[in-house]
Symmetry: C2
Subunit: 387 residues, 2 copies
């Protein structure tokens, strides 16, 4: 199995309600990525960069790719902004790997950013809302919490263990977030707290929903064959996959299947010539608790309906046989839209280098990340292995 | 010299004030691209797609990459939205070539789209405005016409022939647009009409500014080695280049040099192992007449200040020794933001296949396209040759 590219450095800001603006966040994440390279990396070696962002800083700054060049100190370097709603980060990483594969770049930077908390809430609702289907669903009043609430209703209707499983996802991800110093929420919650929280879109309550967060994350990629110039512990990208589905949920044959995720995981496994067993842990797109259950099933780690029992049994806990979202996931770590997909790879970088501190998964050697745009309209899946 | 990818099909809507909405425009351009493939291309052979758009249809539809999959009939296919302001199309084409180079895709679709005329003019001003520097320039009231007006003032201050050259660019591009059935403006203008038109941002008048247009364009790319499965007349992509510069014009050492264009052309020529001589014609980013003069100089086809005489002498006319913008350019053909960079490649596809009808440049064998985002903050340059 050939490696497609190597991650040799990674940076990450705190996620949460932050004082920093978008430029400062980008600078902190990219500075962190350069500083993390064990044997150092010169900024002049970076030949290409990608920026994942949905609204940057409230849509007041456009052409934001040029801002990344400025803040990362990459004079003249081409930067491409990639926007696939909440999957922007996963798709930007994919583009960065392609740039490495072209054979024309020594080092490629990918950064993800969102500054969500210093804009009016009307604008925030708008920019998130337009990432779903506008023509039929948003116009009818369906927010993202509303869409995922419908999916959760359907799941609970079909599978008896569903309600307890949603609670178990929230409790587990908060447990993991409590060990992540970058997480938006670093506190544990009890099942009773989750159960009794205010309803947002029944059956989803407050603790079923990811927060609105600021934050940035960045990665430095090198050709696999040159990775050890930078570090003795590179993390290799072995497989890329992506897919799309109808924007409107109502146009799908089965509400509980995200076709984009299924396409993406098949392609990723095929391109890496890998199998599911052997994957040490997953980072999945848990924008709502129900999304983590659906992800486990669409990714093929559980049969339809079986993610519920699997979660309740603790198998997806950090100490389970298939840890899911050891960094707290979007649920507890936070979900600064463009940053989220890049942040998933950051966690993989730490875990596969055995550098995740108190939340380290013992012997983690292979990982999968899963990043979704909209309610499953686009998805990117990436596979990694330790160097 | 190796070819990097081949264009085997291309489609284009009329540019202008159109009744069609964004979905219909995307469908028309992509249907046109499939229909143009001489020996046919099956949609199921498309493994990846890219969408270039700034605001899609007034920013009411986000996650627009999924819409391209729907309208192009590409079920499950991964689509990435690329947004680099007015250079979105050039950067999307670049990403599409990279996907072909990865060796994992038989056929890649790239589409560019903008629907600009059925949104409020406040929103239109906003979405264009944010593509310049907001923190210092837009906040001070500087529109894009204002920025380019300043650059034109400087050019006229330094070079005596500047004023006549701006007029000559407008007259030439309208002359070319009159022969392009897809152009927004298909009528010739006299130098006197240009000279006496209302001022927009002195010294730029109405005929110095590109219009606000709707439209879409699409390309189908295949690996070079497989191009002849689709057509006897592929057009090869031989070189890619791109660059960035400060978002704010005031931060540059020289107002009349777009560093991003200079980086981009150097890289494109280097990667194609090509030289400027031998290039039959250029498609450059003439959002304002002054931009065409600056492009000729930054691209290295004229010394600083010499693009003026070159243009006045008719050398850039369709019948000159270096035709520029034979399709009418952004100036006369129109500038539906995300579509413009893709549309430039469409013109190259026609010209290098000797299929451009009354505006055909005899013996066109090589071409260069140049697509700029903002006032020079990002730029993409692509080189092509006939099959």
């Amino acid at each position: 199995m050939g490696h497609r590219a190597a991650i040799v450095g990674a940076g990450h800001t705190r996620f949460g309600v932050l004082e920093d603006g978008p430029r400062a966040l980008l600078r902190a994440a990219t500075d962190g990525a350069f500083a993390s390279v064990d044997r150092g990396a010169d900024r002049s070696a970076v030949g290409e960069a990608y920026l994942a962002t949905l609204g940057f800083g409230g849509w007041q700054i456009g052409n934001s790719s040029a801002v990344l060049a400025e803040e990362a100190g990459l004079e003249g370097v081409p930067v491409t902004r990639v926007e696939n709603a909440c999957a922007s980060g996963g798709f930007a990483l994919r583009a960065a790997v392609r740039a490495i594969e072209s054979g024309q770049r020594d080092l490629v930077l990918v950064a993800g950013l969102e500054k969500m908390t210093d804009v009016t809430s009307a604008r925030r609702r708008y920019w998130l809302g337009v990432s779903g289907d506008t023509e039929w669903e948003r116009s009818a009043g369906l927010t993202f919490a509303g869409v995922y609430g419908l999916l959760a209703s359907r799941y609970l209707h079909q599978y008896a263990a569903g309600a307890d499983a949603l609670i178990a996802v929230a409790v587990k991800n908060h447990e993991n977030g409590a060990l992540n110093p970058n997480a938006h929420f670093q506190k544990r919650v009890t099942p009773e707290t989750v159960r009794s929280s205010p309803r947002v879109a029944d059956p989803l309550g407050l603790y079923d929903c990811c927060p609105v967060s600021d934050g940035a994350a960045a990665l430095l990629l090198a050709p696999s064959g040159e990775a050890r110039r930078y570090t003795d512990s590179p993390v290799y990208v072995d497989g890329l996959g992506a897919g799309s589905d109808s924007l409107a949920v109502q146009e799908r044959a089965d509400l509980l299947r995200f076709g984009a995720t299924r396409w993406a995981v098949d392609e990723a496994l095929h391109s890496a010539r890998a199998e599911r067993r052997g994957i040490s842990f997953l980072e999945v797109h848990d924008c709502f608790t129900i999304a983590e259950l659906l992800a486990l099933e669409d990714l093929g780690f559980a049969e339809p309906g079986q993610a519920a029992e699997m979660t309740i049994a603790g198998r997806t806990a950090r100490t389970g046989d298939l840890p899911v979202n050891p960094d707290g996931g979007l649920k507890a770590k936070g979900h600064p839209i463009g940053a989220s997909g890049v942040s998933q790879a950051y966690e993989v970088f730490l875990q596969l280098r055995q550098a995740a501190g108190p939340r380290q998964i013992p012997h983690a050697e292979r990982a999968l990340t899963h990043n979704v745009g909209g309610a499953g309209a686009t998805a990117a899946v990436t596979l990694y292995s330790a160097g």
